[in-house]
């Protein structure tokens, strides 16, 4: 078992109303010094079988076609460092 993380963020030039709402709330709550907030989504995928190139390519496909709306969002795919995951799996 391996864990792959897909991060999905709105493209930088796209308006992010949720991030803005968070940013506006910060000074009200006494947290100063944050000039911008962007909010995204993180997906953790537990992969059966070996995490080879084919598997990663498949995940890239599913991220592109399903997890992210590539018209307005960017995504990154990365493999979670295995140590902890492997430990937990035992």
């Amino acid at each position: 078992m391996a864990r792959v993380v897909v991060d999905v963020m709105l493209k930088p030039e796209i308006l992010d109303p949720q991030g803005q709402a968070v940013q506006r709330a910060l000074p009200r709550l006494g947290f100063d010094g944050i000039s911008d907030v962007r909010q995204g989504k993180r997906f953790e995928l537990e992969v059966d079988g070996p995490l080879d190139e084919a598997a990663l390519a498949r995940i890239h496909d599913l991220a592109e076609s399903f997890l992210a709306n590539t018209v307005i969002e960017d995504f990154t795919v990365r493999v979670e460092e295995a140590a902890e995951v492997a430990e937990a799996a035992k």
């Binding site: 992010d16 109303p17 018209v71 307005i72």
Partner: protein, 752 residues
């Protein structure tokens, strides 16, 4: 990162030979040459950005203008019209000191690319048009057209569009009271997402978009400006001026309905305190449009400091700022003494507001960036003197063959059993099936003034709690009819919307339209457009309902294949007391069903020909607008005097479709008798225009038939509200349970 020098007016004058990417920005060679001629030098990058967006088809109406003039030239005399075509939206007097503004616009292309945000920002745009007139928005409507209901891409586009409309409208707290959903393969690669809105104000509160009075301040307020919708400008920015920039900006804008809600409240409060001289919303072409329109509609010029525009992305170039279509922004012109109060109100609503310039006594629009002049133009040349094309048009050679392919020759059902089978097929077909799965995703009743909403013939909103004064709106458009005959097809759309308003008891007053067509560069499409506009203008003159404004959407096509010509017509009506409205649903057993109007063998473009034979040919139903007027008068009188308890207009699907809808909504069946002189098939399926079916209480029968007789409107008794089946005597009977299952399951099973 090396930046090329700023392209100032001075720089442009000094470097006349620099090649600008005018073609990439969508300008034609002769259009670019005209810009050079107007300016007497080459434009700067920023000027080119402004001209290119303002002279686009979308903003300049360059292909449609010569035809649209008919709406003004043929406009009927109407005391009700307070503001006509050309402003953000038309305004109509509805009595008791109230004025109503309404408009329909398209957001077709963005909704195909990104269904949720495309549709959502469509709602946002039309609502800002309404507030720019000084009115409080009270309702929205959404006429929609999608590809085949069972096509996989429809399942991508439709739920996104519906969720986007619902999401934005519901967040704004605006009830969605009407519209349509139509499926046809011709819209597969090009869905039509039209959005309409209604606003209410007192007569004295009407505001117009103009900037007058030298020294008055120009205030930009609302959301920050980002890189939304500037595909064109980025070409300018990246390929010519600064190669380090990302070369492709998305054309998609993301809306923020909560920001829009703040904008509504803040704008209306500023209006109420009479702080505003002129106002303009920022939609297509953003600041380019707002500054040039405000300046050219006013008396003087304008000077703008672009550095003062609040940005979401500090790397934007001046060209991009001018072209950005970031949502939820407005531009107001305010007298200097009132600026502080205006900013205070904005601050109270948490809306960012910035003085970006002022009105000057010259006649130039000057825009500065880092202290240097980058735009120096006559704003009228940008906003109003765009190119005008007399595009060639010609009746397509296939039109005769299409019209000769008469739907009357199609095989008809021969037995009661076959009729029954076809009735079930009809009422369960995607176009005729219940759209509740879709419309239930919209909030119909927020604000508590909704009197009627889908699936009624028209949406109705109460605007005065004391007197019960209300307005009704219906939108209609049948692309199949318009394909067969664009002139009469457009009139049929008008007639149907007009009839729908009258059926609910309201008096039709005015028209807005959204004209959706293919490419104007195709003479066949241009002919369809010219014919439809001519038909609509003639029809409006005859019905006495002026066109108050609207929108043209061209280039709706995939490759060579254009959509059916689809003029969507919205008719607005007024009702003195909404308690007198007439609903669609059958109310009481024993009431008599009367068919009003004449039924002929008319099946061209009909729902029956589509559902049973997948056929489109022949001629659409005849149009008789004098008859429509008479029918409307009868329906309104009958509603006011309590002579009818329910009414339904007959249109696509014919009488049987109308009866089934009334029966299912009322939970009461009907026994129908085929009247003398008609066969059962024609009686049930014909789509002759100028008809309605009404339920008359027995006590009112004589009074009602006398009225129809005296006014010369054919009224035929065709049955009675009764039982829990829809029965056509001697032919077949269907239980309400069977009908409900057929009618209500189709859309959820295809799309849910």
């Amino acid at each position: 990162m090396s930046r090329t020098p700023l392209d100032t007016v001075e720089h442009a004058t000094a470097t006349p030979d620099v090649e600008l990417p005018w073609a990439e920005l969508g300008l034609k060679k002769d259009e670019y040459e005209r810009v050079v001629e107007i300016l007497g030098r080459r434009p700067t990058g920023a000027e080119l950005a402004m001209y290119s967006v303002m002279w686009s088809e979308h903003c300049s109406y360059k292909s449609s203008k010569v035809h649209l003039r008919q709406f003004g030239e043929k406009a009927p005399e109407s005391d009700a019209l307070l503001v006509g075509i050309g402003e953000n939206a038309g305004v109509v007097d509805v009595g008791q000191g109230y004025a109503v503004t309404f408009k329909v616009e398209s957001h077709n292309h963005p909704s195909y690319v990104e269904p949720y945000q495309g549709a959502a920002t469509g709602v946002g745009g039309i609502v800002r048009d309404i507030i720019a007139m000084g009115a409080r928005p009270v309702a929205v409507v959404d006429p929609l057209r999608f590809g085949a209901a069972d096509h996989p891409d429809t399942k991508r586009v439709l739920p996104g569009v519906v969720a986007g409309i619902g999401g934005y409208g519901n967040c704004l707290g605006l009830p969605n009271i009407g519209g349509e959903v139509v499926f046809d393969a011709c819209y597969q690669g090009n869905p039509l997402v039209n959005a309409g809105a209604i606003g209410v104000m007192r007569h004295e509160d009407i505001h117009l978009a103009k900037a007058s009075g030298a020294g008055n301040k120009v205030i930009l307020y609302g959301a920050r400006t980002g890189g939304d919708g500037i595909g064109g400008a980025s070409i300018l920015a990246s390929e010519t001026f600064d190669d380090a920039k990302p070369s492709k900006r998305p054309a998609v804008q993301v809306g923020d309905p909560f920001q829009e809600k703040l904008l509504i409240e803040c704008t209306l409060e500023a209006f109420a305190e009479k702080l505003v001289v002129g106002i303009q919303d920022l939609g297509a072409a953003g600041l380019s449009c707002a500054t040039s329109e405000l300046a050219s509609n006013g008396s003087g010029g304008m000077r703008v400091t672009l550095d003062d525009v609040p940005l979401r992305d500090s790397t934007l170039s001046p060209e991009e700022i001018l072209m950005s279509e970031s949502q939820e922004r407005m531009c107001a012109v305010v007298e200097p003494g009132k600026v502080d109060r205006f900013l205070e109100i904005c601050d109270k609503w948490d809306v960012i507001a910035t003085v970006i310039g002022e009105v000057t006594d010259g006649d130039r629009l000057e825009i500065f960036w880092h202290g240097e002049k980058i735009v120096d133009v006559d704003p009228r040349t940008v906003a109003h003197d765009g190119p005008v094309y007399e595009r060639p048009y010609a009746r397509p050679d296939w039109q005769d063959a299409l019209q000769a392919d008469d739907a009357g020759k199609l095989p008809r059902p021969a037995s009661g059993e076959e009729l029954k089978d076809q009735v079930l097929k009809l009422v369960s077909s995607p176009n005729q099936a219940s759209k509740q799965w879709i419309t239930q995703q919209y909030d119909h009743f927020v604000q508590g003034n909704t009197v009627l909403a889908q699936p009624e013939d028209s949406g109705m909103i109460r605007i005065d709690e004391e007197t019960g004064l209300g307005v009704a709106i219906a939108t209609d458009g049948n692309g199949r009819y318009a394909k067969l005959d664009p002139y009469h097809g457009a009139q049929l759309a008008l007639a149907e919307a007009y009839r729908n308003v009258a059926t609910t008891g309201a008096k039709p007053l005015a028209v807005s339209d959204c004209l959706n067509f293919g490419s104007p560069e195709d003479p066949a499409v241009m002919w369809q457009f010219a014919e439809a506009v001519r038909g609509l203008a003639d029809g409006c003159r005859q019905l006495g309902t002026p066109v108050t404004g609207g929108n043209v959407s061209l280039y709706n096509q995939t490759g060579e294949a254009a959509i059916h010509p689809t003029p969507v017509v919205a008719v607005l009506g007024v009702i003195d007391d909404v308690a007198r409205r007439t609903p669609v649903a059958f109310q009481e057993e024993g009431q008599l069903l009367y068919l009003l109007g004449d039924t002929r063998e008319e099946f061209g473009g009909s729902a029956w020909s589509q559902v049973i034979h997948d056929h489109l040919g022949g001629l659409p139903p005849q149009v008789d607008l004098e008859r429509e007027k008479l029918l409307a008068e009868i329906l309104i009188s009958a509603s006011r005097d309590g002579m009818i308890d329910s009414a339904h207009d007959l249109s696509d699907g014919g009488l049987v479709q109308a009866v089934v809808e009334s029966a299912l909504l009322g939970g009461k069946g009907a026994r129908l008798i085929v009247p003398d002189g008609l066969d059962a098939f024609t009686f049930l399926f014909s789509e002759s225009a100028g008809r309605a079916i009404v339920a008359v209480p027995r006590s009112e029968e004589l009074r009602f038939t006398d009225m129809c007789g005296a006014r010369g409107l054919p009224a035929t008794r065709v049955g009675v509200v009764d039982g829990d089946t829809v029965e056509v005597q001697g032919e077949f009977a269907l239980t309400l349970t069977e009908l409900r299952e057929a009618h209500e399951n189709t859309i959820p099973s295809l799309l849910a």
